[in-house]
Amino acid sequence: MARSIDMRAPKWPPKPPNVRSAPAKPWRSSTILRHRGIAAGGVLLVVLAGAAVFAPILAPHDPLEIAGGGGTTLERPTTAHPFGTDALGRDLLARVLWAGRVSLAVGVGVEVLVALLGCFVGLAAGYYGGPLDGVLMRTTDVVMAFPSLVLAIGLIAVFERPGLDKVVLVLVVLGWTTIARVVRGAALSLKEREYVQAARALGADNRAIIVRHVLPNALGPFLVAATLGVGSNMIAEAGLSFLGLGAQSPTLSWGAMLADGQTFLAAAPWVAVFPGVALLLAVLGINLLGDGLRDLLDPRFTD
């Protein structure tokens, strides 16, 4: 044979100058764990998720029981009530733990739905293209033309009564645009690559090309966007619940607890401090993890 054919990964496009390249094997566990942001974020999230999962065991009292564990109104933090009590004498540690289940579940749950919807729309637009692409992209243009939380607040007004289920619905309806754009971009650039053309020439159908080539190559940016999305969902849910437009009593959520905290800020600051710290740590953990993943998987955006 005169020439050998290079069967390895495609070399096109060439690496642009002045860009830090990704580690050779971003998926190797030692590479991932050595990244300080990912390690710190991961530890934070494991602890918080553990606290949420084991809330029934860890919580010293019933989070909804008025004057549970002999608590009196707005009691300072003590050994019996490490985070103090709220206006109805309910144990705040128990409430923060149980609320974590709701806040984390909403953050992750919304993102799963958003990711599915975004992948579907992004693939349809980027891979199949045509008028569908135009319609979908104009729709995302319009959704993105609103400051997200403002439109979310407005959409809550559609319903007769606010509630956590409406928050989930609104966040999904508004949240899919980022992922759709990420996946569309990947699909668009990949479908013309030579190795994809080659696969098609070899008889691979669209489904095989999407599953084997498009999705794996979109995975990095997709994971980054999805991770950071969990944080934005949690902040949005907390914000809406804080404004009284989300979780309604007795549903617990860190945002709804902070609305109580605002009322008693001067008399009992601990009511506001602890749910806020929990929310901050959760979002911080997600942001550290997301930024770390971006460093490893998506070197174009490294600063």
């Binding site: 400051p147 403002v150 607040i153 407005g154 007004a157 007769e160 009284g244 001067a266 911080l284 600063d303």
Partner: protein, 311 residues
Amino acid sequence: MPELLRVVAGRVAAVVPVVFGVTLLVFLLNALALGDPARAAMGQRGDPEVLERIRRDYALDRPLPAQYGAWMGRLVRGDLGHSYHQQRAVTEIIAERAPATLRLAAAATLISVMAGVMMGALAARRPGSLVDHAVMATAVLGISTPVFWLGMMLSLVFAVTLGWLPVSGYGGGDWRHLVLPAVTLGALHTGSVARMTRGSLLEVTRQDYMTTARAKGLAEPVLLVKHALRNAAIPVVTVIGIGLADLLVGAPLTETVFAWPGLGRLLVASVGQRDLPVVMGAVLVFALVYVIANLLVDLAYLLIDPRTRSA
């Protein structure tokens, strides 16, 4: 110059379908509304004549496209309808609230840009140093802090405990009332500005012309300001544009924490009362401000960076 004009016209024209889509989406808020918000809002004292007027104004007995046409017809004449709760024009209510939000947003932008650029420049001076790590850690912390919680904590420290600043309210425009809300709203964005400034400064300092300037013997501060900051300005303009989103998203929350009589609090209160004409008006104003601001940022590139003109 006609070339530049053509590019500008193109950018402006591209915004038109987006604005159209925005009005359609805002219209849908009312069209999709469950129950009868007008009746619910007015309750038992619902005057049949007023309800009849609302039905007529919104063409509620006609198909959706006709309703949208009627609504748009009034919108282009600057008529946003009447509030269900206050018997006043929505435009009048919004005009009354807008200055407070503008003032807050301007102060917050000023704070976030000044603090963010300073932090970013400080961190970029010695990448990898203790200062760099401290600044970047502060930035991540700032980005992760829920804006309304930060507002409460600042209020707890500086208003409730120390008593240096008022807890809340507009105070008739007294600047001391502005400090805490502006710092709160600006803080969220300071972190992004700091990160972006640091990133683009580091990028710029790697360029050849910086080595040349340094070889000429220019002092570091001159180098930083004259050569580096200017070239680092493009991504920073981007981040200021993105920051507007943060500002508009943070406004309803910050205004609620500090009882600031702006558009954000108006929006939240109106959703609570299901005063849909006011909700639609406020959402529309927020979206239009956002779209126009993004357009201006886009046009600012054309001035700062001639390379973008061809695109």
